[in-house]
């Protein structure tokens, strides 16, 4: 009758291969990614193609990590053939589930025997909706606007009523714990379509909401005074400080937003939440640790943080600046050339800017995700040196293999 006590799982975003690796290295239990144009990050992420499904699934499964494919846009008739091609390849490669909102995807997945997770795009906000979707799926991602009480009610009623998904297992519930929020209900936004024919529901959002606005009287032209020009741009969700309450609601999966963000974001967010989950389970979830995690989360891309609607806030908190409020920024400096495995040294060509001995640098690549290190010692054009500039060839000790095309960034304070 009741679900056995299982540990809450952590689901990380991956918009590129280096993010897949970063998520795995940071301890994600599962990753989600999109291919071609039928996912909600078509415009903003680098994008995988159908041919990449095999490699993503292979890398994930080799580490015991599950791989979920997002196919969560609205679908038109002309998309159905492509959808079928993607799903056939996904099944062939052993995808663990498809995240979808359109019933055409549910139907095709059921016909092919692929598990379905219902996307937050379906805006599931009540138990009846969960019961309805249980006919097609095994997991629902709830709308992001619910409160802890509403979520706990849904999870406890799933247990009490023994609501089971299409596979016969108890229905699972997933919620977002970190990342960007949308001004519209869980992504159902038409603003971008209205202004530039760019449908957010086809992954083409131009983010009108992230710009500053003025409010003017249409008759007189007089501008109204408002205290924040960014009146439609919510701060990012961050629940690291209330994660015990999140887990207490009985949800099964915690999801991090960010398929259009870099490997550094994926690594830091995933590892912070992974550590927080472990601390809660071990009874060592302390204010000091929360402060450390928050500092680390603040260092990577964010629009300022708030705790979302979970704690019962009736309206959103809005950002007051454009772009990211991250305390650190990464500046591209050099590209990887080769790796001398026996001595553990990587060679890079500096393409722009400069580096100094002692600088903190970040290496991003498909094989290792994101690795941070201190430049010490630094060899420039074969000689020990304090500084390196554009055009120089540098060699530095690196613990992981450097491949051609890997990118080396210098980390600095964002306001430096």
């Amino acid at each position: 009758m009741t679900k056995s006590k299982t540990k809450v799982k952590l689901l990380a975003p991956a918009g590129s291969m280096d993010c897949v690796t970063a998520a795995i290295n940071a301890g994600a239990d599962a990753i989600y990614f999109g291919v071609e144009q039928l996912n909600m990050r078509t415009r903003s992420s680098g994008g995988f193609s159908i041919g990449d499904i095999k490699e993503v699934v292979r890398i994930c499964h080799a580490s015991g990590v599950k791989a979920y494919l997002t196919l969560n846009t609205i679908m038109y008739d002309h998309d159905l053939r492509l959808l079928q091609l993607i799903l056939k390849e996904a099944r062939e490669q052993g995808i663990d589930a498809v995240i979808a909102a359109d019933v055409s995807v549910f139907q095709q997945c059921m016909a092919l025997g692929i598990p379905v997770h219902v996307s937050t795009q379906a805006n599931i906000s009540n138990l009846a909706a969960v019961e309805f979707y249980a006919r097609f799926s095994d997991l629902v991602v709830l709308a992001r606007e619910l409160t802890f009480q509403q979520i706990a009610h849904i999870t406890s009623e799933i247990k009490r009523k023994d609501i089971r998904g299409v596979s016969g297992e108890p229905m699972q519930v997933e919620i977002f714990v970190h990342g960007a929020l949308c001004m519209a209900v869980s992504g159902k936004c038409y603003l971008s379509l209205h202004s530039q024919w760019a449908s957010a529901n086809r992954g083409a959002c131009v983010q009108n909401c992230r710009r500053p606005y003025k409010v003017a009287d249409a008759e007189t032209g007089e501008e109204l005074l408002i205290d924040n020009e960014y009146i439609m741009s919510p701060k990012d969700l961050c629940t690291i400080g209330i994660l015990d309450q999140v887990i207490e609601t009985g949800v099964d999966v915690l999801k991090i937003e960010g398929r259009s963000k870099g490997a550094d974001y994926v690594f830091e967010t995933t590892s912070c939440y992974k550590e927080a989950i472990a601390s809660i389970e071990a009874g060592t979830y302390t204010p000091d640790k929360k402060t450390v995690w928050l500092n680390r989360l603040n260092a990577v891309y964010n629009r300022g943080f708030w705790e979302g609607y979970y704690a019962g806030h009736s309206t959103g908190e809005w950002t007051s600046t454009p772009g990211s409020s991250a305390t650190e920024k990464k500046i591209y400096v050099a590209k990887g050339v080769k790796y001398y495995g026996k001595i553990g040294v990587g060679e890079f060509d500096i393409e722009t800017g400069s580096l100094e001995q002692g600088d903190i640098v970040m290496l991003i690549g498909n094989a290792h995700g994101m690795v941070k290190m201190k430049l010490e010692p630094l060899m420039v054009n074969g000689q020990p040196s304090e500084k390196a500039k554009k055009g120089d060839k540098i060699t530095i000790p690196v613990a992981t293999k450097v491949a051609p095309g890997d990118k080396l960034y210098k980390i600095t304070e964002a306001n430096a």
């Binding site: 415009r43 038109y76 002309h78 053939r81 760019a198």
Partner: protein, 73 residues
């Protein structure tokens, strides 16, 4: 005569070009992207001449493509 150019590989298949002028565009059932009818293919780029009299419609489709992959010269 103006040339309409489509950089097809970046098409997201939203269908706005097809809605604006079905005679120039069809939605491919093969990969869900828009195809420039009678377009001459050069790598992943498709080019077709359109009479200047259609300038307003050309401007409209260039403006409204959400991923800006349609140009005209």
């Amino acid at each position: 005569m103006p040339k309409l150019i489509q950089y097809r590989d970046k098409c997201i298949g939203c269908g706005i070009c097809h809605q604006l002028q079905p005679a120039w565009w069809r939605m491919s059932k093969r990969d869900g992207k828009a195809t420039l009818v009678k377009g001459e293919k050069k790598n992943q780029t498709y080019v077709r001449e359109i009479p200047l009299i259609e300038e307003e419609l050309i401007r409209r489709v260039v403006r409204d493509c959400p991923v800006h992959i349609i140009k005209w010269v």
